[in-house]
Amino acid sequence: MPRYFEDLEVGDGFESPGRTITEADVVSFAAISGDQEALDFTAGEAGLLPLVPELLIMIMSSGLGFRAPAEMPQVLAFMVFDLYIRLPVRVGDTVRCRIRVAGKRPMKDAGVIVEQRQMVNQRGDVVQEAEYKLLVARRPRE
C-alpha cells in the first residue's frame, strides 16, 4: 500500500539501521561527484582513519530514510534542506538516521512535509542535523 500525505502525522518517526562508511564509499563518491579532494588518505592526522566528506554523510542519510519499517510516502520532489555539520565522521564509523515529521502543510494537489533528521554515529553522537522539506502526493480520489 503506497503511503500519502494524509498518512503522515507530526511526531511520526523512526530510526534507520546503521551503515558503516568504508573507504570504498569515499572513492565512489569522488568518482561520481568529481570532487577528488577526499582521496588523499594520507592527509589526516596520524593514527586516525581518513575523514569522510560531509556531503557523503548527507547522501547516506537520504538513502537510510528509505529503510523505514513502513513503506515510504510518495515523494514528488525534494524541495529544500538546511544542513548543520556538528562533528567529523571517519572511515569505519557507522551512522544511522533518526527521522521525525516536524510539520505538514496541505496544498492543492500535494502537501509539504517537514522532516527533522539527525545522523548519529556508533557512540550516539549527533554528527549532522538537517531539516528537509518534501513535496508528497495526496491520496488520489476514488
Binding site: 561520481i32 568529481g34 556531503l55 547522501i59 525534494f78 534542506f81 548543520y84
Partner: protein, 150 residues
C-alpha cells in the same frame, strides 16, 4: 608537481565569482548514485513508471546534482580555499535535471565574517546550478571556515 597555493581568509573578497566547466549528466551517474546513496526512489530508477509522470522520464537525484556541483566547484577555483571546516548548507531544488542535461555552477562569495578566534574566519559562498538553457535548477549557500595567514 607543486601544489597550487591556497587562498586564505585575507585573499578571499566579497564579490569574487567563479564559473565552472559544464558536465553532462548521464544515466550511469544516476545508477551509480542510487547505489551509493541507497535512494532507489522510482523518480530515479523506474523508467516505465516515470513515462506517465509530469517529468515524462527519470530525473537525477537532487543530491546527485549537488554532489556534481561540488566537484564542478572544485574545478572552477584554480587556487583552492584554505578550508578548515564545512559548517553547513542551505539548499533549494528549483527544477529537474534530466539525463543528457549539462550543468554548470556559478559561485559568488557573499559574506565574510570574523570569528572570536584570530586564526580563522567564516565565508559564505552562494552557488547557482544552471542547465544548458541557462535555467536555474538548484541554488544555495555554503558556509566555510577558512584559515587566516599565519
Amino acid at each position: 608537481m607543486s601544489e597550487p597555493s591556497r587562498q586564505y581568509f585575507e585573499d578571499i573578497q566579497v564579490g569574487d565569482e567563479y564559473l565552472s566547466p559544464g558536465r553532462t549528466i548521464t544515466e550511469a551517474d544516476i545508477v551509480a548514485f542510487a547505489g551509493l546513496s541507497g535512494d532507489y526512489n522510482v523518480l530515479h530508477t523506474d523508467a516505465e513508471f516515470m513515462k506517465s509522470s509530469i517529468f515524462g522520464e527519470r530525473i537525477a537525484h537532487g543530491l546527485l546534482g549537488l554532489s556534481i556541483s561540488s566537484g564542478l566547484g572544485a574545478r572552477a577555483v584554480a587556487r583552492p580555499f584554505a578550508t578548515l571546516a564545512f559548517l553547513g548548507l542551505r539548499w533549494r531544488f528549483k527544477g529537474p535535471i534530466k539525463i543528457g542535461d549539462t550543468i554548470k555552477v556559478r559561485m559568488k562569495v557573499t559574506v565574510k565574517k570574523e570569528t572570536s578566534k584570530p586564526d580563522r574566519g567564516i565565508v559564505t559562498v552562494q552557488r547557482a546550478v544552471l542547465n544548458q538553457r541557462g535555467e536555474l535548477v538548484q541554488e544555495g549557500d555554503t558556509e566555510l571556515m577558512i584559515e587566516r595567514r599565519k
